[in-house]
Amino acid sequence: MPREEIAQFAIDSVQVLSADETVDEELVPALSDDELLAMYEEMKRSRRLDERAIALQRRGEIGTYAPAIGQEAAQVGSAFATADEDWIVPSFREGPALLVHGVEPHQILWYAMGMEEGAEIPGGEGALPPAIPVGSQPLHAVGVGWGESIQGTSNVAVTYFGDGATSEGDVYEALNFAGVYDAQTVFVCQNNRYAISTRLADQTAAETLAQKAIAAGIEGIRVDGNDVLGVYRVAKEAIEKARDGDPVLIEALTYRRSMHTTSDDPSVYRETAEEDEWEARDPIVRFQVYLRDRGILDDETVAAIDERIEADLAAEIDKAREGAEDVDPADMFRFAYDEMPPSLERQMAAFESGGAPGGETDG
């Protein structure tokens, strides 16, 4: 047999609202004015939470924090496309998606205060806690999507990870499992151009990250991640496909506008000219202009929304502080096992009695 081409692939890219504010009317998703405003409010709420969290970290009230400033459209747009029964399986930068899914700001702050209470997902939320090891959680999402399908539901899992995560073996395994088991899973890769200091070109020689789906036999698509309408549209379609057992990898092209975490200094590895360029493409500003053009947002509404957000966050920060006063260190023993092994019981008893003589030995 001669040499011949036996396969061909292509990756689509979608944009509804372009950076210069032109709109592809055909692609505008059918959302009511209220839904559009709700999306806008969630984006602003998460932006303000991030800003306040950075300030709290600087004052020593919380620990290392990973802001999602600049990535609100990628997260809010995709999380808005989920149903209440769907799952969010996040990495460590998914404040916006978790907020949309009903997780409250004080929980996010508790996590940043080094409290396991912040990783407690209240019953029925359909979310897993932040995953710190990069790229480890897409496998959990595939497990969720597969589990839902085994149990005959159509709920999907939407999992988030970065461009760097696509280098981890676990992410390849997740994409592959999803294809094999028809897992009801959508992968949202937020390509924010950097993995801490490492640029995409040093991360992979692949032209797109969406194409990583192809080797796993699932669909890959790219979207402008700073275009909340585009993200919503692509995510909505992907989620509907995933409900039928066709997993999708979405690459949302975006930019992490602030630091990697509060312990990072981006000036070491990137130019302000690049940062300025992306400031001009900010997802919230872009959406705000669109909403004003459509006549559903004016100064008064903006002010009312801002006021609501400030009041909400002030109350949430108080709640986080109050909770932090009640931390019981012995919880570290209580939640390690369902049934505490006898040796651990002795360790806990010694701990509670202040390490009294003889108390440390536990056999």
């Binding site: 080094g114 990783a119 710190i132 981890e168 200091s197 070491v268 651990l344 360790q347 003889g358 440390e360």
Partner: protein, 321 residues
């Protein structure tokens, strides 16, 4: 020319010296090149050695596994794993290949790789940034496990590790990176498998390494007895003779580590003391360790990591038995 350095600077100067001395040394890992490492341990090395210092993709199995191949071509890989917990992602390569390549090939293929990684608690880091898995690495035959406790110890041990013919997991106590300065001699090697006496004494032996050594030295200041503190420096191979000699002299032994108690190195050290100094013991070997729970996030971390109070109490229990 001895210099006053912090531990993180000692790491950097040792890497620079070895890159300079030996063309086969290559340094790589996440964020190590352009940014100079998240702890700045590799800062400036890229400028001086652009062909031998690399940023790596976020892939620990890749970082560890490629080391086997780099070494097979005659290079000396010195990768950084950004935090020890992420060496779990590379653990399969470590245990299945790095540790075994010499014995499988009867010495024809070897892996003189030094995997540097910060470990341990005490800096209020994120979840999964504070683990101490030295016993797990020591449990894998074929690996050596080194834990320095000061800047001068770091230069001596890291120099030896990089020049060493076998793979070494080099665990740097995060909380000592910037804790203090110390005079650091140039180009010195500390042999792997030789403990040192951090203080000498007659009443009780305390074995501690890495960040726990500092904590122990502080703790025993408040103990009204003559305490001998042994820093094994290498967790594997473990210098049994120095520990046993000390326990034969003092008759009492306390082992301190921040890793969980069950399966921790204190168990192994206790067993060796029982084997070789049983008749000298006047008290059971005392363990002061972390608890058998996942290292809690930082709101509870200070309750988990042994502090001076817990260490002093353990030493007193051994003395008062």
């Amino acid at each position: 020319m001895a210099e006053q350095l912090r531990m993180v600077e000692a790491v950097r100067e040792t890497l620079r010296a070895e890159l300079d001395r030996d063309d086969s040394v290559v340094v790589y890992g996440q964020d190590v090149a352009r940014a100079g490492g998240v702890f700045r341990a590799t800062e400036g090395l890229l400028d001086d050695y652009p062909d031998r210092v690399f940023d790596a993709p976020v892939a620990e199995a890749g970082i560890v596994g490629t080391g086997v191949g780099l070494a097979a071509t005659g290079l000396r890989p010195v990768p950084e794993i950004q935090f020890q917990s992420f060496l779990y992602q590379g653990f399969q390569q470590l245990a299945q290949h790095v540790a075994r390549i010499r014995s499988r090939t009867r010495g024809t293929v070897t892996c003189p790789m030094t995997i540097r990684t910060p470990y341990g608690g005490g800096i209020h880091a994120l979840e999964l940034h504070s683990e101490s898995f030295e016993a797990g690495f020591a449990h894998v035959p074929g690996l050596k496990v080194v834990v320095p406790s000061s800047p001068a110890e770091t230069t001596g041990l890291l120099t030896t590790a990089i020049r060493h013919p076998d793979p070494v997991v080099f665990m740097e106590p995060t909380r000592l990176y910037r804790a203090f300065r110390e005079e650091v001699p140039d180009d010195h090697e500390i042999p792997l498998g030789e403990a040192r006496l951090a203080t000498e004494g007659d009443d009780v032996t305390v074995v501690a390494w890495g960040s726990m050594l500092r904590e122990t030295l502080d703790a025993v200041e408040d103990v009204d007895a003559s305490v001998e503190v042994v820093d094994p420096r290498t967790v594997y191979p473990l210098d049994t003779a120095t520990i046993v000699d000390s326990v034969q002299k003092t008759g009492r032994c306390v082992v301190v580590h921040e890793a969980p108690r069950t399966g921790g190195m204190a168990g192994e050290i206790t067993a060796r003391v029982n084997e070789e100094a049983f008749l000298h013991l006047e008290a059971p070997v005392e363990r002061v360790t972390g608890y058998d729970v996942p290292v809690p996030m930082f709101a509870r971390e200070d309750d988990y990591v042994p502090d001076t109070d817990r260490i002093a109490a353990g030493v007193r229990r051994a003395l008062e038995f």
